[in-house]
Symmetry: C2
Subunit: 635 residues, 2 copies
């Protein structure tokens, strides 16, 4: 472990400019160690951050982002940037409540322009800022966006690139090409990136440049500005680059770990009054053998132990993701019409485990969520049974596809939504808090939630055979609890499941919160209050028969969901009552509040949102107090 | 006007194959006249359909789409396809109830695989079908998708192309390049399309082919299959094409009105076991001078009169679109920080009128909705006041951008949502029935609706000065009614507006349905029932004070909205009550039902949905009957 002398002295980006090249290289090493040490303790994005340390330093060395604009795409590679912008003191609480967010966060620093976490947005927001600065008479501000090689082929990125090509001003896209998505890169453009190699020989580059000048590109519109280029730029122009025809000057690839080359090249391209794409090759996980040799495993690891060269991930409980992967594997083994698709998240969704077993029926399309859903729609149209495996938050990128290509056609595409609810350390950019709200208005859509491993399995089996339109299942970023019930009944459309009887109040929990509801029930039982707990299972259609019965009995009903309280499961219950002319004042809804919940542990977030066991118990007590029904015992 | 002898005999695509080339050309002419005659009566997509008649005939001549797959992108260019597949008898009820849908519609014919209407989806669904057919052992089915030049640079298309490049089978993308979006094409790729020209000289093409063979493309992976190509294909290969680097063999451009060339080329590329992009140049509006000379005006005209060479659009009332355009123009004149963006719909949204007046503050980014929203977010970040002008249904393509780049940052981007509610002839693919449901769960989002021109103006002024987070305004595809009120009060956050007093019941109409509510009020008044009508104005935040007052008075309350009844304005009212412990059984909600509403007039659709004046009056009567409150007078 090296000392972090330079890192400790670093207060602001200007400090970098006082350092020699050797010192910058030393600082890069110090940053790498600091990041690795911290991630080993708290978990976090490791390999992506290790890959861009030199690139980040070079950017801050050449540009002045107190006025220039730096936009991150995805943003999980921002740790070095945060260290360079005076946030070293937050690092030891990485991804924790009131600590350093794992993604860019304007609340932390004015050097962070957008809180991001979803891929593909950097180029488009950068174009907006470039146009905005220009209109406001501030076009001396340079605009830079840092985009990964998988992110740049996302649809939004490519829409942005096509529009960037029409800008008439400085605009720099730095393509951080580490030859990796979160998993392996997908698509034809990735093939091109894979084939091109860094050329370190400057004299050769200069020679190549002369040839380049001779070749007039189609249209010749750029020719006039070539004479203003520096010789490295001219030498490194790549007319074969996939995005050359999008109107950008494509330059590179250059070595993303060679600080001198990075600085020299950035100094040159900084002055070009035309959109430029600088292709930089980096090594994901660079600096440590364990991470550069297995960058997928160390993309965003949980805490791990390093002893010498032995690295061991600290194991936690069995995740819903693993449970899903195993359950889907069994479904696929039983039914050869089942196929599954991920949009660039084979590891995060658990599909990686299934790929070797079902190579022809598992698809990774890269970070292309809209495409993934449309591909599922096409496969469903041929009679297959597609299971789109996707994080709840990323399905937001395909709502229009769910609408038109799936729901309007009545196609039985299945949506398996991992990380539904609050997600812990990733914070607000990754919560899955909207899926019920945006899916429930589609005719024939069936919405379900899993409470434990057995219900997840039962739900998947229901989805396999449910061919009358689309269906969706949500499950959280959490460990699977002990089974909530000795024997889990099969799923029946629109039927809730009684988990525990009770006479004073009823809790309808939508999936996973059933666990907390049962804990609350225990606590209440100690106070002599008897509460029934149901796993609601379905948000659409809700179990109107059960609800009608509870309303008829004048039973206080509490709905609980790990979803925005407006437009969620509880609203479905209210609507079902209202439609039928039933009163609703005996119903209380718990869910995520109408504000943003930032990074922290999932337990902290559930408590903050008021949907953990304590909050549920308190809500029941409050209902009973108000109703007067059992006031005597609680007083 | 020519006879339509051949068209009348056409029953199925096989019939085409019995025709000579001359007869096919005659048939193309007949189709063109039939389409033009009908659109002049009913309105519809004219210029796009006139442009693809020969291309459609050539596709049906070469492929057998009873087993092969033909996928339309957008689909507004499907009229000739419908005529070729036995649907001539439906043409005289084009876009009308139970007539011919204006877009592909599987309910009409098995030749239509998807009902579409939103751009950019054809390639991705085609990939799904290609993969599905392969897995199901039916890979002899050829797959073809027809995509326009503006649609192909939509993000979903480009995600699809990047994935198509990895297919190892026949897969044909026909690029219908008419050099036009709905308006002018946007972006750098469009510049390339504009520069390349059709080359009719076959011998030259052959000569060029020999050169092509000499140039080995980077990677050389395709070389092995070149020897299997026909000579036209080989001659027409374009390695400079923007999508060459996406792994597709790009061929063309060829002349989309030369039936012989189209058929010859399609016969050749049909046999290639590799993804091919065939670039076809067509003339939008081809066949009639009035439409080819002004293809934007005749993209999707209302009914028009043709006398000789004089063509005159039948004028209808003043649209909300025009009212918006004028009102936004005034806002822009007053406030130079206001900018506005459209995603490829300058005419449909009314921005075309403003572009010459404010060339620097109006942006058309092409069919790139996600990008448009992110660009707005970037501009807002620099202190500008962006108004994203977009159809409600197309905003579905940018929900994730509204979430992350706008709402999470708390940026005051304004969403002006045209065509909110049912849209008439365009049918289910274009209804704006979800905007409240998908926007309401974002913290600080303000949701509004316009009832008439004055409220639209007042709402825009409110949005101009509302900087505390995003806001959205919906207005319908309808004519603006006479002012609902002599003087329209300014918008105040979360305040409804009383339009007419009443003592027996209250109607809360969300925007435009206030017109129908007032008509219902008149009808009820004749029966001695006195109903108050409020323009609710806000769905978020709803006017809880007013609602509380009505509930306290035990007033029966009817909510009415031109939006899905689940998750819409009425639900917001229910939730507001439930949150405060108020009873809701005096509240009834009217809105769009949980099923699809197909093409027809807007009046028919509102009646079908049960939200027109008659339905509102009946709902009030029913409420009063049930409540017993005024049963005596109604009995």
């Amino acid at each position: 472990m090296s000392e972090s002398r330079l890192l400790q002295q670093l207060r602001r980006p200007e400090d970098l400019r006082a350092l020699s090249l050797e010192q910058l290289e030393q600082l890069a090493g110090e940053m790498r160690h600091a990041i690795c040490d911290q991630v080993s303790k708290s978990g976090g994005h490791l390999a992506p951050n290790l890959g861009v340390v030199e690139l980040t330093l070079a950017l801050h060395y050449v540009f002045d982002f107190s006025t220039d604009r730096l936009l991150f795409d995805v943003g999980h590679q921002c740790y070095a940037h945060k260290l360079a912008t005076g946030r070293g003191h937050l690092l030891d609480r990485l991804r924790q409540r009131d600590g350093m967010a794992g993604f860019p966060e304007p609340r932390e620093s004015e050097y962070d322009l957008f809180s991001v976490g979803h891929a593909g947005t950097g180029i488009s927001t950068a174009i907006g800022m470039a146009r905005g600065d220009q209109l406001r008479g501030e076009s001396e501000r340079k605009v830079v966006t840092l985009v990964g090689d998988s992110s740049i082929v996302n649809g939004v990125s490519m829409e942005g690139l096509n529009n960037a090509g029409t800008l008439k001003r400085q605009f720099l896209v730095v393509l951080n090409d580490n030859g990796m998505s979160i998993g392996m890169p997908q698509g034809a453009v990735a093939g091109y990136f894979d084939r091109i190699r860094v050329d370190h020989r400057f004299t050769d580059l200069k020679h190549k440049a002369r040839e380049v000048i001779k070749k007039i590109p189609l249209g010749g519109a750029l020719e006039e500005i070539y004479h203003r280029f520096g010789e490295m730029t001219l030498a490194a122009l790549d007319h074969q680059h996939p995005f050359h025809s999008f109107g950008l000057l494509c330059v590179g690839p250059i070595d993303g770990h060679d600080l001198r080359e990075l600085i020299d090249m950035l100094e040159e391209v900084k002055e070009i009054d035309h959109p430029v794409l600088l292709h930089v090759k980096t090594v994901k996980g660079n600096g440590f053998d364990f991470s550069s040799e297995d960058p997928t495993k160390f993309h965003s690891p949980k805490p791990f132990r390093r002893e010498g060269c032995r690295v061991e991930l600290v194991s936690s409980g069995r995740s819903f993701t693993s449970a899903y992967s195993d359950a889907l594997g069994d479904v696929m083994a039983r039914d050869d019409r089942v196929v599954t698709v991920t949009a660039g998240m084979p590891d995060g969704t658990g599909l990686a485990e299934l790929m070797p077993r079902f190579p022809e029926r598992t698809f990774d399309v890269g970070i292309a969520e809209s495409h993934a859903i449309d591909m599922c729609a096409g496969m469903a149209r041929t009679g297959l049974k597609p299971f789109a495996t996707i994080y709840s938050t990323f399905l937001q990128r395909g709502i229009d596809q769910v609408f038109q290509e799936v729901a309007l056609q009545g196609l039985p595409v299945r949506f398996c939504m991992d990380r539904a609810g609050v997600v812990g350390g990733d914070g607000a950019v990754h919560h899955g808090f909207l899926d019920v709200a945006y899916l429930r208005s589609f005719p024939k859509m069936v919405l379900m939630a899993a409470a434990d491993e057995s219900t997840l399995r039962a739900a998947l089996e229901f989805m396999r055979t449910h061919e009358d339109g689309p269906s969706a299942l949500r499950y959280p970023r959490d460990t699977v609890p002990e089974p909530l019930q000795a024997r889990t009944p099969a799923f029946e459309l629109g039927r809730a499941n009684l988990l525990a009887e009770g006479t004073d109040a009823a809790i309808l929990a939508y999936g996973f919160p059933a666990l907390h509801a049962l804990a609350a029930r225990e606590a209440l039982a100690e106070q002599g209050v008897s509460v029934a707990v149901y796993d609601a299972r379905f948000a659409k259609p809700v179990d109107a028969e059960l609800i009608g019965q509870l309303v008829a009995e004048k039973m206080p009903v509490l709905t609980v969901e790990d979803h925005h309280v407006d437009g969620g499961f509880g609203s479905c219950v209210l609507e079902a009552c209202n439609e039928r002319g039933w009163p609703t004042h005996g119903i209380k809804r718990l869910g995520l509040p109408d504000c943003w919940i930032y990074q922290g542990s999932r337990a902290e977030q559930l408590a903050e949102a008021g949907i953990d066991a304590d909050a549920i118990a308190e809500a029941v007590r409050e209902m009973l107090r108000r109703s007067g029904r059992r006031l005597q015992r609680l007083a």
